[in-house]
Amino acid sequence: MSNKLKDLSNRLKVKIKLAQVKAARALAETIPEVIRIRTQQEGDGVNGQLKALESSTKKYRKRYKANLSSDTDPDRSNLTATGQLLNSIKGKNIGSKVVIEPGKSKRKGELSGGKSRLTNKEVNKYVDENGREFLRLNKQETEEATNLAKDIIAEELRSVIK
């Protein structure tokens, strides 16, 4: 990095921070959708194809086919039984930090954790620990998100550095 960049004034640091906040806000909106589409439509987790469903799970889903989301079928592993987990994922920014989290509310209906009435956050932890990690960005998504953030920040900086 050149001396010129090392000697950046506080003024520029503030501009960068504000631009980062703007980018973080955009990422908080975009990332949940990226994860939802990849998981539901492609059936991919963070590390490629999601683990196939156990035959007992398939049987169970066939029995309750009428309660299954229209975005899946009994044999399909895409973390969608009711669609509540993926639809609950929310993003928010805390300053320039992005937080992506599954919903904390209790799930509803059949195929939603039975009588225990689990929260989506608890279901996420379960699937994560059982080899179906999806709530992260993969390498390509990280690159795309970086580019999106970079473009937003560069545009902001260009508009304020005169």
């Binding site: 501009k15 930090k97 992005v98 989290e101 970079k150």
Partner: protein, 173 residues
Amino acid sequence: MAKLSIKIPFSQPIKPKERAKIADALLTHIVGRTMAGLDRDNNKFAKYTKEYAKEKGVGTGDVDLLLSGEMLSELKVLSTSPKSIEIGYSGSKALIGKVEGNILGTYGQPEPIPGKARDFLGILPDDVQVIIDSYLQEDVADLTADEIDQLARDAAREILGDINFDTEIDSEQ
């Protein structure tokens, strides 16, 4: 249209060519000082409550008025004249209400909560003078397109490296 603003007087008339840049420098100073946790008089902001700090994931003393970021990013230079600039907010009533809540310490209550006012909208006259003096002497290097790109990429990587994919179960659940 709702408006909330302050006028910052200059001790000397500023030429039009320099005015916009000085206005921006003053605005940026206020935002930067706020993010550093200091109010208009350069005093530390009142601490966050334990509950709010926990929700935000910071210490109670790490007050930067930066949650959604809207309050600081929407602070604008509204007008300039040879002897003063006007900065503040124009437009969203909700945002202005939020700003007023912070300045007065009301936070949605009819009366201010004692000791909770966080007035960031202003600057000490001495600080104005220091900024004007230093700005008029400063040779601000123009950054090239490549340098802006590099800065933006570094800043973007910083965000991506710090994303919190919140998969932990909260203890109170």
